[in-house]
């Protein structure tokens, strides 16, 4: 089934928030795709960098769940070629910030396989629990 996108003021708020944090005028992205064509890490991304920009433009919060924002290494290939002079690495950083604050990546210890916990570094586990407390 084709998914419907809702475009509303809620989405606009999300867009404004990302624009404020990143300092980039995301609405001026005209979706030419030069960022994607220039990005050296697209093999490890789930959606294209220009698609990230589009989703933010339309306020689609699901963008926070994409791999792409975490794969971005801020190499700035996209920024040096963007015809509208946008810095996508700042947008990715803003999305990561929100993602962290909204604790989307928070996990429940019970959901992790017992065997797997043994393999995970304890410091990472402790860090993950601690970062959203206190």
């Amino acid at each position: 089934m084709i998914k419907k996108i809702i475009i509303d003021s809620e989405g606009n708020k999300f867009l404004e928030k990302i624009e404020t944090i990143s300092g980039e005028k995301i609405t001026s992205c005209d979706q030419c795709g030069v960022c994607t064509g220039s990005c050296p890490f697209t093999d490890n991304m789930d959606i294209t960098p220009s698609n990230v920009m589009r989703k933010v433009q339309l306020g689609q919060k699901e963008v926070l769940e994409t791999k792409t924002i975490w794969v971005c290494a801020s190499c700035l290939h996209c920024m040096t070629r963007c015809p509208r002079g946008l810095d996508l690495s700042k947008v990715a950083e803003a999305l990561r910030q929100i993602s962290l604050r909204e604790a989307i990546d928070n996990f429940d210890i019970d959901q992790i396989d017992k065997e797997e916990t043994k393999k995970l570094p304890p410091i990472a586990l402790v860090g993950s629990f601690r970062k959203l407390t206190g």
Binding site: Q31, G33, V34, T36, G37, T80, P83, G85
Partner: protein, 806 residues
């Protein structure tokens, strides 16, 4: 005196912000105002007729129109006054639209107060307006057309056929310009050479057109009706009268160089004819590649090579030819200098100049032409990609604009490649990578659809980069199909870059010589984007074709004909009329001290006898620089007299409330006032404490006027003018700088901070800068330690002594 004041609603543009009724009521209360009205559209027929009726019925002798900019409707109301039987110089326009309603839209109450104040300034000025006559000047029928591309050709033909004397100057060896280098033209697929060729030969055959090819403009001075042109006709080393273009010389020539007409995809000889339909159709020698001419730079009687001269059956070749200096007297000028294409090497990620299979679109045009002529040319292979917007719509390169023709020319090239492949029974896969397809012209969308139907694939995405296989030389393009959200990484035999347009190098040079301003895209700026699209800021100079901005052939031709018509409009009557804005002397005040004589940059002032100084009205340009030098206030300027300006200043500073600060802006007519209008049109707001006073040139603002303003209550003064190279007034910037220095020194003497006076030179596109300056000036006006009444009084008491010690 019976003054009538009209406040215009401008259909809500003004009345939505300003209480026009209140302004009219205020005007009615002023001395000598016998009639004050407000009306929806003063510029409409009804408005004009009402004005004429009122003038007759109420015996009005002076009129104030509080409406829009005098630069917009000034002439309209002057002609209305003439119709009503009044001298046209007895009307003043008050600009409450661009300088009030549109810039203070969020402060309706205070805007109304400011509109009253502005109207009061206008009333004060009009009181002192005198009846003047326009000055008449003879004008001839000589037109200079710079650039022999399709725009220059069309303008020359229109003017030549209308009986005007055209001098067409082209820096290249043939006319025809960029269009002559095209294969076919969209959307009809006409062969460019076939439709342009006849026009080119018409130019050569028209007895009213003097053609100067291989020629460069060196300098142009003067004004409308009196331009003086100096140019150099570079030597061709071939006598054009005896050359029969047989081509024997080229066969003999041993030198081969890249052919610039063919965009470097093939070679030509050092003696050559640019193209077989060249006009003039004569051979010439390229002095940068000819062996003998190169040798002669070191040794002036070298006899190296010379094979062409030996081969020539007509004995036409002469290595002794020298550049020829030509001088012309010209009445109007048409600039049609055309475009250069973007240098694709500035986009290194696409590898142009590095990868041999990456071409620019103009090269593809020539490959198609050469194929059509059955010549051996480059093989472009089977898989071909076009990349759009190379050097257009790219802020990284400072090129925000769309070049307007690339979508269509790429579509055309795709069609032509596809078509010739079909004829030859070959298969070609053509892909066009675009950002947005813009096929806006007549028949263009249909042409685009036709191309899609032919199987050319249009893919929405701007490629990131191209890489080359060092062995096969094949090119891999990486691009996102943005409609599919997937990445394409595919190999092509040839990649064609659809390069954008920019002002040509020749155009840059002409812009410098003629002091023509450029818009932010770097192309020449028209006087008004809608109503004066082919005029420039300088009267008598017009611009046609791509020199004004990227455009296609139909638009260039239309503009060219428009420039011809605009030039004819000026020249046809044999005379033109100028504003009577000239300096004059109040003889009763003049004591013939002679201080003004050396100040005048044009030496228009001289003693006519021992005790009488005269100003030659034919030489005076009306800059007002002389006024500051006169200790007796004996020199004055028509339309902007001392009395008018000081009363305007007084009115601008009256009704100042306790603690209120006010800033005066003296805006030159040429740039700053226009800029203020543009800021108004763009509705960019600035502080309301400002009052703009129009002056012809910043040099008109004498130190005395500045100081008078401070005496009368000004808190900061800002003077704006053009950049030195754009001002029509010689040495005016230096004069202003000197005046400002004098005024600053005197302010310091009475303990007033000298940062209260500022001077800046604008170009008409500096909208944000202007707004910034308005903010700064008001901040300066509001600074701590306001000017005290005592300081103003000391200034007043000692003014004359400070200005002219002893």
């Amino acid at each position: 005196m019976r003054i009538a004041v009209y406040v215009c609603h401008c259909g809500g543009n003004i009345s939505d912000v300003i209480d026009v009724q209140e302004v009219a009521k205020f005007a009615d209360e002023q001395d000598e105002v016998v009639l004050a009205k407000h009306y929806s559209h003063m510029c409409s027929n009804q408005g004009q007729n009402m004005l004429i009726e009122d003038i007759r019925k109420h015996e009005i002798d002076k009129v104030v129109i509080s409406a829009c900019s005098p630069l917009f409707h000034g002439e309209t109301f002057k002609s209305v006054l003439e119709k009503a039987g009044l001298n046209p110089y007895l009307v003043e326009m008050v600009n409450i639209r661009e300088q009030c309603a549109w810039v203070h839209y969020d402060e309706p109450r205070r805007s109304t107060e400011k509109a009253k104040s502005l109207t009061a300034i206008g009333i004060e000025k009009v009181r002192r307006n005198s009846a003047l006559e326009k000055l008449q000047q003879d004008i001839g029928k000589n037109v200079l057309v710079i650039g022999g591309g399709i725009a220059g050709i069309q303008a020359s033909l229109d003017l030549g056929e209308a009986g005007f004397n055209v001098h067409l100057v082209e820096q290249k060896p043939t006319i025809g310009g960029r269009m002559a280098q095209l294969s076919r033209t969209f959307p009809t697929n006409d062969c460019a050479a076939c439709i342009l060729g006849p026009k080119m030969s018409d130019v050569g055959n028209n007895k009213n057109i003097n053609l100067y090819t291989n020629s460069e403009i060196q300098d142009i001075s003067g004004t409308l009706g009196d331009f003086h042109v100096q140019m150099t006709k570079n030597p061709t080393y071939v006598d054009p009268d005896s050359c029969v273009s047989c081509g024997v010389c080229a066969d003999a020539c041993p030198v081969k160089v890249d052919d610039e007409f063919q965009w470097g995809i093939s070679k030509r000889k050092a003696i050559y004819i640019p193209v077989d339909f060249a006009v003039p159709n004569k051979f010439l020698i390229d002095e940068n590649s000819c062996l003998r001419l190169k040798a002669r730079r070191k040794n002036s009687d070298s006899q190296v090579c010379g094979l062409c001269a030996k081969a020539c059956p007509q004995d036409s070749i002469s290595f002794e030819q020298k550049p020829e200096q030509i001088e012309l007297d010209i009445d109007t000028i048409i600039v049609a200098t055309g475009y250069d294409v973007f240098n694709a090497k500035e986009k290194p990620e696409y590898g142009y100049g590095k990868f041999e299979k990456v071409l620019i679109a103009p090269q593809m045009e020539r490959i198609i032409v050469q194929q059509g002529e059955g010549k051996k040319t480059r093989d472009i292979g089977k898989r071909i990609a076009f990349i759009q917007c190379v050097g257009s719509r790219d802020e990284q390169l400072g090129r925000e604009y769309c070049s307007r023709v690339c979508c269509m020319y790429a579509t055309k090239l795709a069609q032509l490649i596809r078509h010739s492949a079909q004829v030859a029974g070959q298969e070609k896969d053509i892909y066009v990578f675009y950002t947005d397809m813009r096929t806006f012209g007549k028949g263009y969308e249909e042409y685009y659809k036709q191309t899609q139907k032919m199987g050319v694939k249009f893919i929405r995405g701007r490629p990131g980069e191209i890489s080359e296989d060092p062995f096969t030389k094949k090119l891999t393009v990486t691009v996102e199909d943005t409609l599919n959200r997937q990445i394409i990484q595919s190999e092509f035999d040839t990649v064609i870059l659809s390069v954008g347009l920019q002002l040509s190098a020749g155009g840059e040079k002409i812009a410098d010589i003629l002091n023509l301003p450029k818009s932010t895209d770097g192309f020449l700026q028209e006087a008004h984007p809608k109503f004066k699209p082919v005029d420039t800021q300088t009267e008598g100079i017009f611009v046609a074709g791509t020199a004004q901005g990227p455009k296609d052939i139909p638009d260039s031709v239309a503009q060219a004909s428009a420039t011809a018509s605009r030039a004819i409009r000026l020249m046809n009557q044999g005379k033109i009329f100028n504003e009577p804005m000239k300096a004059f002397i109040h003889t009763e005040k003049c004591d013939a001290c002679g201080k003004c004589l050396n100040i005048c940059p044009h030496k228009a002032i001289a003693f006519s006898s021992k005790s009488i100084v005269r100003i030659n009205q034919n030489i005076c340009k009306g800059c007002g620089s002389c006024i500051a030098s006169c200790p007796k206030d004996a020199i004055d300027l028509q339309m902007f007299t001392n009395e008018q300006l000081s009363k305007e200043v007084k009115a601008a500073l009256s009704n100042k409330k306790e603690g209120e600060r006010r800033a005066l802006i003296f805006a030159d007519n040429m740039c700053t006032y226009k800029l203020a209008d543009s800021v108004g049109t763009a509705k960019k707001s600035y502080p309301i404490e400002t009052r703009i006073i129009r002056i012809p040139s910043s040099s008109r603002v004498s130190p005395k006027l500045i100081l008078q303003a401070f005496i009368l209550g000004a808190d900061a003064i800002f003077i704006g003018d053009c950049e030195e190279k754009s001002t029509p007034f010689k040495d005016s910037i230096q004069a202003t700088e000197c005046n400002v220095r004098v005024a600053k020194d005197i302010l310091k003497k009475v303990g007033i901070a000298d940062n209260r006076i500022n001077f800046f030179q604008f170009v008409t596109v500096m909208l944000p800068k202007f707004v910034n300056f308005m903010h700064q000036t008001v901040e300066i006006a509001k600074q701590k330690n306001p000017i005290t009444l005592e300081q103003r009084r000391i200034l007043e008491d000692n003014l004359q002594e400070y200005l002219f010690p002893n």
